[in-house]
Symmetry: C2
């Protein structure tokens, strides 16, 4: 393979009760990236559209990953990269993760799949570190593995791919405001009540159990976050209104995507997802704040190859 064009999905990390542990990939939001083998070694970015990102190959999340992988694999070729961002950086939908994970996936194809998904996740985490300063795994793992993932452990890194019930749909609203990751971290308490932690891990257990058994009611009951959401929602204007309008329209649950400001809702089936989409839209129109909305399947496969030769 000398050339490929891929779709790298946006991802929802945290997923209510699963703060810093759970994530899932979506299907209709994401970046398109092309990878072309070059005789000249190393990496260059030939085009970036859709967002204003750096062309400095050591500072761009995607090219930094490509560069590191080519070096680690001792490749006898280089890569020319184009990036089309399909959604905004700073949305809480894993923008840098989509770049970094897409770069890892695409480069691995040109390297004849020499690296495992776990290794690709580690490379993509390096890209996250370049872009955001910390090597977080939940978004990049969801993008690479697809579907729902559990980051069971960082040391050593262990990623568990969880099953995705067939009718699971995600609706997301991205209010056009900025939530700084630093602020989102700073509003969190360093200590929490043991009793609250028990409630939270029982919900993590319930959510994962519901994914394995296609039990939408259990998924719904478990999509509760009593630890992080009460603090972070203050950074997102009209969070409660959005959540309530989603639940009123029969969403299984709703919460903050990553560190926000995007709010996601999970739903059973297209009909309810459309109803939830409409309900949230009507609610947010009244706020006067600009927003974008998405509706998508939970994407069980993650990356897609759109074109190759």
């Amino acid at each position: 393979m000398n050339y490929l064009k891929i779709f790298s999905p946006a991802t929802v990390a945290n997923v209510s009760c699963g703060f810093d542990s759970l994530g899932f990939a979506v299907d209709t939001i994401g970046d398109e990236m092309t990878f072309t083998k070059t005789q000249e070694k190393g990496v260059k970015i030939t085009n970036i559209t859709g967002a204003n990102l750096t062309y400095d190959v050591d500072k761009n999340a995607a090219s930094a990953v490509v560069k590191k992988m080519l070096e680690d694999a001792n490749a006898d070729f280089g890569v020319a990269l184009t990036i089309h961002k399909g959604f905004s950086p700073g949305s809480g939908l894993g923008s840098s993760a989509a770049s970094a994970a897409g770069a890892a996936f695409g480069t691995n194809k040109l390297l004849n799949n020499v690296f495992s998904n776990l290794e690709l996740t580690k490379f993509a985490m390096f890209g996250e570190k370049v872009a955001c300063g910390s090597a977080i795994a939940d978004n990049v793992a969801a993008a690479i593995y697809g579907g729902f993932v559990l980051v069971r452990s960082y040391e050593p890194l262990e990623i568990i791919k969880l099953p995705v019930p067939n009718e699971l749909r995600a609706v997301a609203i991205h209010p056009q405001i900025e939530v700084k990751t630093k602020d989102a971290r700073e509003v969190l308490p360093s200590k929490i009540d043991l009793n609250d932690a028990v409630t939270q891990w029982a919900n993590v257990g319930g959510l994962i159990s519901g994914l394995y058994t296609n039990n939408y009611q259990l998924i719904s009951n478990s999509l509760v976050d009593i630890i992080v959401e009460p603090h972070r929602k203050k950074l997102i204007p009209f969070f409660d209104n959005v959540k309530n309008s989603a639940l009123k329209a029969d969403a299984l649950g709703a919460g903050i995507s990553g560190s926000g400001p995007t709010i996601f809702a999970l739903c059973k089936g297209d009909e309810i997802a459309n109803k939830v989409h409409q309900s949230i839209k009507e609610t947010y129109k009244e706020t006067g704040i600009d927003f974008e909305m998405y509706i998508s399947k939970v994407n069980p496969d993650g990356m897609k190859i759109l074109n190759s030769n």
Copy 2:
């Protein structure tokens, strides 16, 4: 049905990472109880063997449950109860839970199964409250549902039955010392680090995922408790020695059963379970403290009817 004799299993609650949320039933440790319909309404205990427990029907965990159920069901008969305790109260293996859950199960049979397992769990929790002062669900739910259970929520009560990999075996050692539940509660911090909580709930997720997928390695990796065990193990002499000897003999993991002093190990298959049993035994013999040991399948069914007419 006018008479039945049942086996009500011992149970391991908490299960490392799953403090106050997870439990499982064992197969070779438990109580035997008989239930005989009587014309006279109400409940009486005609015999208790194996432990020194009260015959006061309002204070005994088993009879208190029987009495409440007969009243709630408006039964036109009474029950004469015998209890043979097969393991010691205060062991951390759910002794009062076996009595209370057995009483709920047995009485329900005489009532032609009028109550659901969830309702039986609630009745048994009432028995736990009579015996221990608090209506804890994890032991009684494991005894009633069998196998592994997750207490997803208390309000409303929601119990999730989890699958049990076929080769899962439990080894338990009960050092003949007393750990008061009150002390076991008091050593716990009321506040914990958010980062530790994340580690713990990722392990809960991993353990449950491992149960669904028969992934013994994942079960092993996830059987870690960084929150409760470090405090409670101080109340159990030679805990670390036991745990290390279990892990050296290839146990999947080991931890405190309930609030102790019993220590459990989970193992894959009979051969390793026997090896772990032997290894722990040799370790504890050197301590000079008396102990009892058990080896058992994880019991997927919970209660058994031994006899009826």
